[in-house]
């Protein structure tokens, strides 16, 4: 590698012996960096903290604060911990080298040194440090951009849940990273009728967020009749097939008539919806047959539609698999059984309270293991009928 260091880079040379410092200075004069010098450990720490050099060549054997201690202090200070340190010492034992490297030094040069070797190593570590900084800054930039994606994504979700006569809704939505692939939406049709969509793009973060946004755009521009769940899924699939490959999107679409309290459900690869029946106080999955997920290939069969009649006190839950596939420390998943039990546990008519109980149960189960997928739930509870 030729001399390609930038003039704005600086190297701090630390040695208590003036002759050594001079030799080192002369050796590195041609590298093209600003050279700073320190004659003892205390000075080294002070200059490093202020000037934040790009590299430090550090002698070990010094009175008062020795090189090991300087290194330890640099590495424990958040402003200096990432400055690469090369130890430079007459100590040639393997043990000393190991000790230096364990303290976080990037390299070790034994005195008396060969000038060419010092220059080569310095150049190498300056390059590594520069690349590291670039990666860090690109990572920050990327995270920043993902945060913006996430903000946009939140705006795509319904701002508030509709007030549906006799059917109270609650929701929970969280992404495992900045942006996610889960999506829920609700459209209001005329005359107390509604369409609910719950969908989950395979994967998470930016690629899933793109699919999610696209599904949202498609769903909201659906030209057909939203009271026909099979048509809605056919439409979404037709368009997602053009763009989703190799990914896909699972989805549940539910048409709900609040007058009749009936649901019509169509399912594309999505986890089965769950229902808690107030009459026998048990919760179960609704075994609705379905088709494979959206975005793979056109459906050549009719998409089955399952009709469900709800009764007062019934709870209807749709969710994404980030919830049931949430792992705990032992590597077990939360699973459908626990979710059914929690769905049945509480007798409150408030869906948001039931969701809070479910999420608390999931978090307790996970026992500190972080969520590695997005999680969304939409829960509706049929309210007791008013008597006139």
């Amino acid at each position: 590698m030729e001399n390609n260091t930038s003039a704005t880079e600086s190297i701090l040379l630390v040695d208590d012996n003036p002759t050594n410092l001079q030799v080192l200075f002369q050796t590195l004069e041609g590298v093209g960096c600003k050279l700073l010098i320190a004659k003892n450990g205390e000075m080294a720490l002070s200059i490093a903290g202020k000037a934040l050099p790009d590299l430090i060549l550090l002698d070990i054997m010094m009175p008062d604060i020795d090189g090991y201690e300087v290194c330890r202090q640099l590495k424990s200070n958040p402003t200096t911990f990432d400055i690469p340190v090369i130890f430079l010492s007459a100590l040639g034992d393997t043990e000393d080298k190991v000790k230096g490297l364990q303290l976080g030094a990037v390299d070790y040069i034994t005195k008396p040194f060969q000038p060419d070797e010092v220059i080569a190593r310095v150049n190498t570590h300056l390059t590594i440090h520069r690349l590291n900084r670039e990666v860090e800054s690109q990572k920050d930039q990327l995270e920043h951009e993902l945060e913006i994606v996430s903000e946009v994504q939140r705006k795509l979700l319904p701002k508030q849940l509709p007030e549906i006569e006799g059917f109270k809704l609650g929701v929970h939505y969280e992404t495992s990273r900045y942006a996610g692939g889960d999506y829920y939406d609700i459209i209001e049709l005329s005359d107390n009728r509604y369409g609910f969509l719950m969908a989950d793009a395979e994967g998470h973060s930016a690629p899933a967020a793109v699919l999610m946004a696209m599904t949202c755009a498609l769903f909201r521009s659906y030209p057909g009749s939203a009271d026909d769940p099979a048509s809605v899924l056919h439409y979404l699939n037709e368009h997602l097939c053009k763009v989703a490959d190799p990914s896909f999107m699972t989805a549940l679409y539910i048409y709900y008539d609040a007058n009749l309290q009936t649901m019509q459900i169509a399912r594309a690869g999505h986890p089965l919806p769950m229902i808690y029946r107030n009459s026998d106080q048990t919760a179960a999955e609704i075994s609705c047959p379905g088709v494979y997920p959206l975005g793979i290939e056109p459906y050549e069969i009719e998409i089955p539609v399952t009709e469900v009649k709800l009764q007062p006190g019934d709870r209807f839950l749709v969710y994404t698999d980030g919830l049931t596939e949430r792992f705990n420390r032992e590597g077990r998943t939360y699973g459908e059984e626990r979710l059914l039990q929690t769905l049945a546990a509480d007798s409150t008519p408030d869906p948001q309270a039931v969701i809070a109980a479910i999420m608390a149960n999931v978090v307790q189960f996970a026992d500190g293991h972080p969520a590695d997928d997005d999680q969304a739930l939409l829960l509706g509870i049929v309210q007791a009928k008013r008597h006139f």
């Binding site: 190799p246 896909f248 690869g269 089965l272 494979y292 698999d321």
Partner: protein, 111 residues
């Protein structure tokens, strides 16, 4: 996850053990891609010791199935345990990729 592959009588077999999830799917994808490097058009997945499969894992299998279809070839998934089989049923993937009870019946289906 542990993944291995071999070729016998013109059939490429890929055995996946443990968990095929978001973390391991990249490695699995790479192995599948390499295994399909030649012009093979008979692909068998031995999933007898697959314990867990996430949607990222489904994507790996789906990509392989699409590739075999492009080649006018055949693919089969064999010996799924109950849990994995249920994932295939609920997700509707059983209508996209053929499944057999055992490796032997899988080989037969490919012949």
């Amino acid at each position: 996850m542990e993944i291995s592959q071999k070729e016998e009588n013109g059939i490429v077999s890929i055995a996946i053990k443990g968990r095929l999830d978001a973390d391991s799917s990249l490695e699995a994808e790479q192995v599948v891609k390499e295994a399909l490097g030649g012009d093979t058009n008979r692909l068998l997945f031995n999933l007898g010791e697959l314990e867990y499969l996430s949607s990222a894992g489904l994507r790996v299998l789906l990509s392989a199935a699409k590739e075999m279809r492009r080649r006018d070839g055949k693919i089969v998934l064999c010996a799924l345990n109950e849990f994995v089989k249920e994932i295939f049923e609920v997700s509707g993937f059983q209508s996209l990729i053929p499944i057999t009870e055992s490796v032997e019946s899988g080989i037969e289906a490919l012949s």
